[in-house]
Symmetry: C2
Subunit: 239 residues, 2 copies
Amino acid sequence: MAKQPLISMRPESKGLSYDRPAASQIFGFIRDAIISMELLPGQMISETALAQQFGVSRTPVREALIQLSNIGFVEVLPQRGTYVSKFSMDKILEARFIREALEVAVVTQLATNPDEAVRLEAVDACEKIIADQKTAATDDDALAFQNLDDNFHQTLASFTQYPRVASFIEAEKAHMDRVRNLSLHVSGQYKRILSQHSAIIKAIKAGSADKSAAAMSVHLKDVYNILEVIPQEHPEYFV
Amino acid sequence: MAKQPLISMRPESKGLSYDRPAASQIFGFIRDAIISMELLPGQMISETALAQQFGVSRTPVREALIQLSNIGFVEVLPQRGTYVSKFSMDKILEARFIREALEVAVVTQLATNPDEAVRLEAVDACEKIIADQKTAATDDDALAFQNLDDNFHQTLASFTQYPRVASFIEAEKAHMDRVRNLSLHVSGQYKRILSQHSAIIKAIKAGSADKSAAAMSVHLKDVYNILEVIPQEHPEYFV
DNA sequence: CTTGACCCACTAGTATGCAAGAGGTAGGAT
DNA sequence: ATCCTACCTCTTGCATACTAGTGGGTCAAG
């Protein structure tokens, strides 16, 4: 029986270009497929099957899977198989803890930045994003809203001048995005999220480290509130 | 000419055991060699040479090097070579930022933990470590003192129940340990470090989130003060 | 002496084949 | 019917071989 492909892709080029290491491209493909729930938690993904699909040997696929296991997206069981990680409440709360620690530090640093020009630049950039989010909210465009949310947090992080901080935040956020993509609960929450974003920016503008930190903390705690319902709706994806 | 081995190891077993993946063991060996400055910043480490030394093929060595490049310990230049990362002020300050964000969050969570039994357990464990550090200080045993310092921070992190938090802190701390191992500046600083550790524990015992966070922050900022002198002493290891 | 083209040695990236362990299954003994 | 065993298939871990790109060194031309 011809097995169904694990990941959808343009067959003509198998999605890979020649100007970049195959392993790195495959890493991105699989990661995106996991975040978008195209690959489901608990699903087995064999090195051989993926290699055939991408039209490469097992080696680059294997290297991609090793990196995915480092960030907790897959679990490699020797001689048994490689599986997409299931959700666990512990791991999600851990991701939230790390993310909150970093994002609170980001806004604290920004709010206390003595160079006011930098603060204003950040505030401007974020206010622009918030304005776009308002548009997305009135259009009820959940996908656009979520992308802008990503943008908001990444923009804040970019002002630390520490690239790894931004990438850590992105990585921890990705775990949550996976959960969120189980169902689009966001609509009806637009208003709350928007006002929380605004509160963060207002505190940064005022130069208040405490208020910035508190506002970010409140925002993140609220975002993770959907965890109250999702595990019951999709117990099969949780350990 | 017979090349000199890159890493010293017991030749009888080449340091590897059979009950654990070779790649993972090699990763640990090379990481430790880099932290201890046995492998110097800027030094080239070829996959082939390491493979011969460990008595394995290039494959597991390569997988270990990929992971080391993920944590910023080596840099892989395609078709050119793999090099031990040099220090850069930016990267070290970034590591400090991340570490401070996480450790401040750790002590904050601990200080506000409603379960007083947990708090006391943590305080007890840390006070025991501080006592040992006092002994190490009077013995002027810098190595023991530093190991206990590691222990202190890891113990605090362990009480979050989030294992990845502890491992992140350890990883970020490792970058600093590399720098520190350039020279043993620690003696003469024992007293300051000890009193800072004590202040952190005291604030946790008192259940004060603010004071715990502030004490941790002060401690970490102070630890990184040796950066004022080291780059001038060893400019060849900095980019 | 300077400069340029070529060659060669060495690198990491990828392909392929083999080894060894885990787990399901069929079949026989009880 | 139940349990045990042998085996067969699939997995990942590792070894080996090949590809292609980089940089240095050589040597000849100017």
